[in-house]
Subunit: 376 residues, 2 copies
């Protein structure tokens, strides 16, 4: 039996670095697996910020020689008293020094007379926003609503991102073929979705060594990560430890925490496998504690526990060297423990977080401050 910290250290060593290309319209929420370096200047040319007349110098009157709309790719030149009407965003002609706002002028055919000089607005110079060769987004950046537009602006259509791992979910237990409902696969798949990964339901296996073994071999071939529930204790029908041991390697079995103590983690076919306890509360707590941060790491996104302090409403007794995670409901910063047993659904239904009683504590008294790890 190992401590939670030791278990976390084992999990931390795993990486998932497969990559793929996605179109930028599908890139929201994905993580870049390459640096994005601009191969253009933005603006691509000296660009007018307003609708106005591009001129070489300040004069009272100009001769209009052409017109440029936004997006036009015209290479014009002005000289002396020539001017060009340029729309906002349009490319200004060579030699342009100023753009005189259209509302400060009067135009008669091709003659443009300036009636006021109160506002001469600038030109966005080629490359003033982004320079060619500049690293715009670094590998590891999450694509969001602010930076996706920059990719579009650079004319990038596809980017290299980290793949999203496929997480195979297998429930075990003869009782699931009888009256008992399969709850854990729904809970685990929700944690997988919370981590933005892809859950794959692999069905239910009977408490049978060969059936479980076969299903896990299959899962490890088809998925990047496998998560099972049930059959992980030391009873004669608890086949998971034996299966993982035979197919691969057990990296830890049993963790000093409650609920969730019987959890197992290992490798099969070089894929990580989490074997969660069958009790619903234990399964959920192990999924929060180990699976969620693990999956976030696999998709190259940070995971930070949100922990707040609250006042405990009633005493909780724990045991030495064990981490206790007790579902609590929060109201006005008071934490009400609602744990009624690892197989009682309402132990978690209304919980807002897990009250933490650390390994070096033996109890927390009513009225004491307790750290609460918020679920959302």
């Amino acid at each position: 039996m190992i401590s939670v910290k030791e278990a976390e250290r084992i999990l931390e060593k795993f990486r998932f670095n497969k990559t793929e290309y996605v179109k930028i319209e599908d890139a929201y929420g994905r993580v870049l697996a390459e640096d994005i370096i601009s191969d253009v200047d933005i603006p691509r040319f000296d660009r007018s910020d307003i609708d106005g007349y591009a001129v070489t110098e300040i004069l009272d009157e100009y001769v209009l020689i052409d017109e440029v709309f936004a997006g036009d790719d015209k290479d014009l030149v002005i000289e002396g008293n020539e001017c060009v009407l340029v729309a906002t965003g349009g490319k200004v002609p060579k030699n342009t020094k100023y753009v005189i706002p259209i509302e400060n002028t009067v135009r008669v055919r091709n003659k443009v007379v300036v009636i006021s000089f109160d506002r001469i607005e600038g030109i966005s110079k080629k490359g003033c926003d982004i320079k060619k060769g500049e690293t715009i987004l670094k590998k590891g950046t999450l694509i969001n609503e602010r930076n996706i537009g920059v990719l579009a602006g650079l004319g990038i259509e596809e980017i290299k991102v980290y793949k999203i791992p496929k997480v195979g979910i297998l429930s075990t237990g003869n009782e699931l073929f009888k009256m008992t409902k399969d709850i854990n696969s729904k809970t685990i798949s929700s944690i997988v979705k919370k981590a933005s990964c892809e859950p794959i339901f692999l069905g239910i296996a009977r408490d049978d060594f060969n059936e479980i073994k076969e299903k896990i071999i299959n899962a490890s071939e088809k998925c990047d990560i496998v998560v099972t529930s049930g059959g992980v204790s030391v009873g004669k029908k608890d086949f998971l430890p034996r299966v993982v041991d035979e197919l691969g390697e057990i990296l830890f079995h049993k963790v000093k925490m409650r609920p969730g103590m019987p959890m197992l983690f290992g490798k099969v076919n070089d894929k990580p496998i989490f074997c969660m306890p069958g009790n619903v509360v234990s399964c959920l707590v192990c999924s929060y504690m180990f699976l969620l941060p693990f999956l976030m790491k696999m998709i190259h996104r940070p995971y930070r526990k949100r922990i707040i302090k609250a006042v405990l409403s009633e005493k909780i007794v724990s045991e030495p060297d064990f981490l206790y995670l007790r579902p609590v409901k929060l109201k006005n910063r008071i934490a009400y423990p609602i744990f009624k047993g690892s197989n009682i659904l309402t132990s978690i239904l209304d919980a807002d977080g897990l009250g933490i009683i650390r390994e070096n504590e033996l109890e927390k008294n009513e009225g004491e401050l307790i750290d609460v790890w918020l679920f959302d």
Copy 2:
């Protein structure tokens, strides 16, 4: 021109109450459109919490008459010195008072001898977790990893949830058919995804009254909400106000905020339509300010701005009655304005939030505290 508060009041009146049924394995992240009332007791029967012998009273020795596994639907009865071996989670026989842990007994054929009474564990009584007729989840509840297991436990396969609105996205502007890239549709679709709604790209329309009109009619038929960008000012090529006015109703046009002032909101075919300014920063800021909270409301989920205080690194000047939202980068609780213009991509690329200068303020000085609305 109306204030941001007035605009928000207009938006607040909208609702989206369409519903659909989804399988519970697809229900994560959806919002219940019905109360969930349990039509069963959970446990469904008196359930053993351990592997042990169900007995009617404390005796030294029992006669084993049967065995029950978890999930079995056997209706057994014990009397006198009879006992039944019951697995954890198994249904205990009628008349059971205690379950004696298996490890406290010795068994010889059908004779079970009790060797110690140190631990007589309980039975989870029928309905102790959830009672038949109890309201378990209320309409409006978000399905998450804690409550989805309860649905599974109740044997529910489908639930009624609010539909996710389809948000049609249309970019307008002749320049988008030339050299200029369509940035806004990517930004808007990312905001739509951030709100867990479904973006539908409707392409690009030229600055042409009839083309825009036709595309908006089509969008309003096929989508629940329409968002356009560009063509919303008062120039001769700004057709959106005229189109919305002709097809439906303008509910507001121009808001006292910068960037984002030219924004329009209305109804076409009884569907809400947001017409965002074409400038990339304005479009993003309007999407944060109005579209994101609106969409969250449409999917029946709360939206709360996360606002922190930071020290402003340099003076910002605003104007009376206008809400100024200035992209800032945060470092050690210092807010560095990085706004360089509404059409400069790097004005938002590295921003962590929007510095807020309220309508009754005219400026914020260097070193003053400023509210920063965090993006994430």
